[in-house]
Symmetry: C2
Subunit: 472 residues, 2 copies
């Protein structure tokens, strides 16, 4: 807690990380270390005496950096983006130095109140219907991840079922509760269902990788006939495999009719709604009970910052309220205590990241970032389409292009192996209905047109000796 040491070493750290960003272009995107590489490079015990700053930094460069897969490299095109920007990093420094734990309003009023305000800014910015942040029980909260947002929504949905059916504790049977999502929903949906001991019904998606709404309707009907309890339906905007979009209006009508909690997972795609021209993608969101997207993915905010809105938070807030004397405070009836809105008790001052980033970059720069990413993806799509040996397998709406070599899966598998071995760019595959393909996501702010052209040249040249013979 020495302010002078913080001043000195903090600035040295800033020098180090600025230089990291300056050199990131020249680093191999995907780490090539072997499993267990670090174990023998480090001593087996913590040192008794303080070590020198210079020695630690040297080890960061020599021991840690080779084991980093550089998510912000311009050549990183795997998974989905994770955000970063100087305002978000500065806000995190401030959050760390203040170091308050915002579990209740009184434990740092600004921590709760800035979060409430930022969730309104964000809601307005993406044009989320005001039902999600204006009524008394409505509101937004920052969760750590989309996985947690799904889990929290499911806990709320379960509480609603219990309340609606007026179930006594002994009568609650989670194994009869059913959660619906498409077979393209993120794996964390299935996991949340497993954690809560419910059943997960994966509804087949159509040829566009959207949930088959008729199949959803039939599944709910069948489950009701069998005495099961339809509890929640997760609709995805921007699936992980192909960035497809479920039809919220059609799904929403069914959910509302059947009194099934509707959760919208827009983890990646949600950030694009800060651009008015992409807001059509969430048409029907007014039917939802909860809506979630991750500013930490594509809005230049660093992990973790996942935004979740409730139309009626009481199903979460009141259902799991434990209120020991040491956490009570005189204002708790007139303010909200975010500890009731989440699984953990403790929480960091994460709204500072949203505030700093929205103010210091301005909405325009954030929009530019989204638009640039999408343009680069469109550029890449064109390049793929120009080569008759390749095909694009998704409808490229945002920043993800899914492509493959025509013919047997083995060709694309072989190609990805070669890309990975080459190491210039990092991509991951996916597979739908037995069709294997490669995902190319625009992730880093650093990625530019030249990078995309070069990436395609690399892919194309590595593909050249993968003959059609690979299909046999």
């Amino acid at each position: 807690m020495d302010a002078n040491e913080l001043n000195d070493k903090g600035k040295k750290m800033i020098d180090f990380v600025s230089s990291y960003w300056q050199t990131i272009r020249s680093r191999r995107a995907l780490s090539v270390v072997e499993p267990g590489y670090l174990d023998t490079l480090l001593p087996n015990e913590a040192p008794l005496k303080a070590e020198l700053w210079e020695d630690v930094l040297r080890d960061v460069e020599q021991l840690i950096m080779p084991g980093i897969t550089h998510w912000h490299s311009p050549h990183f095109h795997a998974y989905f983006p994770t955000g970063n920007s100087y305002p978000a990093i500065c806000a995190d420094i401030l959050s760390d130095a203040i170091g308050c734990i915002g579990f209740s309003w009184i434990s740092s009023p600004a921590c709760t109140e800035l979060e409430m305000k930022m969730m309104k800014w964000l809601g307005k910015l993406i044009n989320l219907p005001s039902q999600f942040y204006t009524p008394t029980n409505a509101g937004g909260v920052i969760q750590g991840t989309a996985s947690e947002a799904t889990l929290v929504s499911l806990l709320a949905a379960r509480s609603k079922v219990i309340k609606d059916k007026n179930l006594s504790f002994q009568d609650i049977n989670s194994t009869k509760m059913v959660v619906y999502c498409s077979d393209q929903a993120h794996s964390s949906v299935e996991r949340a269902v497993m954690l809560l001991l419910m059943q997960c019904r994966k509804i087949l998606s159509d040829s566009e990788h959207r949930m088959n709404v008729k199949a959803l309707s039939e599944a709910i009907k069948k489950d009701l006939e069998e005495g099961l309890t339809p509890t929640m339906c997760v609709a995805t905007l921007g699936t992980t495999s192909t960035c497809s979009f479920d039809d919220l209006t059609e799904i929403g009508k069914i959910c509302n009719e059947q009194n099934v909690w509707m959760h919208v997972d827009a983890a990646y795609a949600g950030a694009s709604f800060i651009c008015p021209e992409y807001q059509y993608l969430m048409e029907g969101v007014q039917y939802a009970d909860t809506f979630n997207f991750n500013p930490h993915k594509w809005m230049l905010i660093n992990f973790d910052c996942s935004a979740l809105w409730f139309k009626d938070s009481s199903f979460m807030v009141e259902a799991f309220n434990v209120d020991p004397v040491y956490l009570q405070h005189v204002n708790q009836k007139v303010v909200l205590d975010y500890r009731h809105w989440q699984v953990p008790l403790g929480r960091r001052f994460r709204s500072l990241k949203l505030w700093f980033t929205m103010r210091l970059l301005g909405v325009e720069q954030l929009q530019n970032h989204i638009r640039k990413s999408i343009k680069l993806a469109k550029d890449f799509e064109k390049l793929v389409c120009q080569n008759p040996d390749f095909e694009v397998v998704n409808n490229v709406i945002l920043g993800l292009v899914c492509f493959r070599m025509k013919g047997d899966n083995s060709r694309s598998k072989k190609l990805l192996e070669k890309i990975t071995a080459d190491g210039k760019i990092y991509l991951v595959p996916s597979e739908i209905n037995g069709v294997y393909f490669i995902r190319f996501a625009i992730c880093s702010w650093f990625t530019n047109e030249g990078d995309v052209n070069e990436a395609w040249s690399t892919i194309e040249s590595l593909s050249k000796d993968i003959s059609m013979q690979e299909t046999f």
Copy 2:
């Protein structure tokens, strides 16, 4: 992602936060803003154009700081400490700038491997039996909070019950599963049980605020007779109200005999075990299945960093394994993927904080911090004992003193109201069996002997006109 902006603004931020630490002593520990204070001070929408850095920093000082309850003020004695130090902040800057998401080994091998190593360093440092980190399925993982560590342990315990009893999915009835803890366990235990729809049995504590082991044994027996399933028992080392210590050996024997998962919650007290002279407090830990403490409380690591060890992680790791193609990698059979060890999928590079702090401060400075806090608490205890109008109600072992004015609760309530209104120091109350008392925790690294003396002078002088009449 502009490295120059990061360099410039990052250093300005470091200047700002160093100066915050330098002025923290003069700031009122407890914020006195009114609920809703911030709402009207901020615009209702995010700005379209980028704003100036100077304007944002000015607002931090003028709008945010008044709403901060300063957890690192030398006059903050509420709740329990939350850590902070320059090495931890520097490590977080590095973690933010690298910005990798460590859900799988390949997504950044160093992120997984450094965490494995740090959890070994930490385990050795507190003298945790090697059963928790040496066998193949054993190991440590960084969770966000102790609440999540308890939840994850309970999920593992539930999986073990399902496996041991060879239950089919339909036969699982969580409402018949029972979790035991003392009535002094942290509220997050009851909450984890609610989240998983189980029953929580709060075992009465004895006059020393330790779980009554005989009552535990009887409760388990009774539940078994009634066809319920004893699933987990949480033993606490360092309870929140009074920092009391459950008897791990006696509880452990019962748990092992009855095949009940034993989780040890040492959230606060665990850090003291880095000093050999306090390791006796966890005698019997070898009986536990999971052990948790929060380096982010008392080990100068900033939130979040909660250390959880499993003797056998497979009950968590294998029970909830979802493995989509886009997260698979060639090495996943020979390395561990921490995403299976926790509730969320994404995770930050938090082990850097442990590594930086242990190396740059050295074990000795960490031990000094623990010892200094305990000495200050002992000093405060002496001061309280010298005033015949006061009594100490807990056994002061670590850094928490619980005291009250003799006589009716209303006297201590009145006193705490006056302390809060005076605003020099910040304390919170607790209550056990109808006895209300005030907690005085040594929290900040900045707190010194003079501060403790002054705090006591303040308390004593505010108590002077609280006559015994307050008892009627």
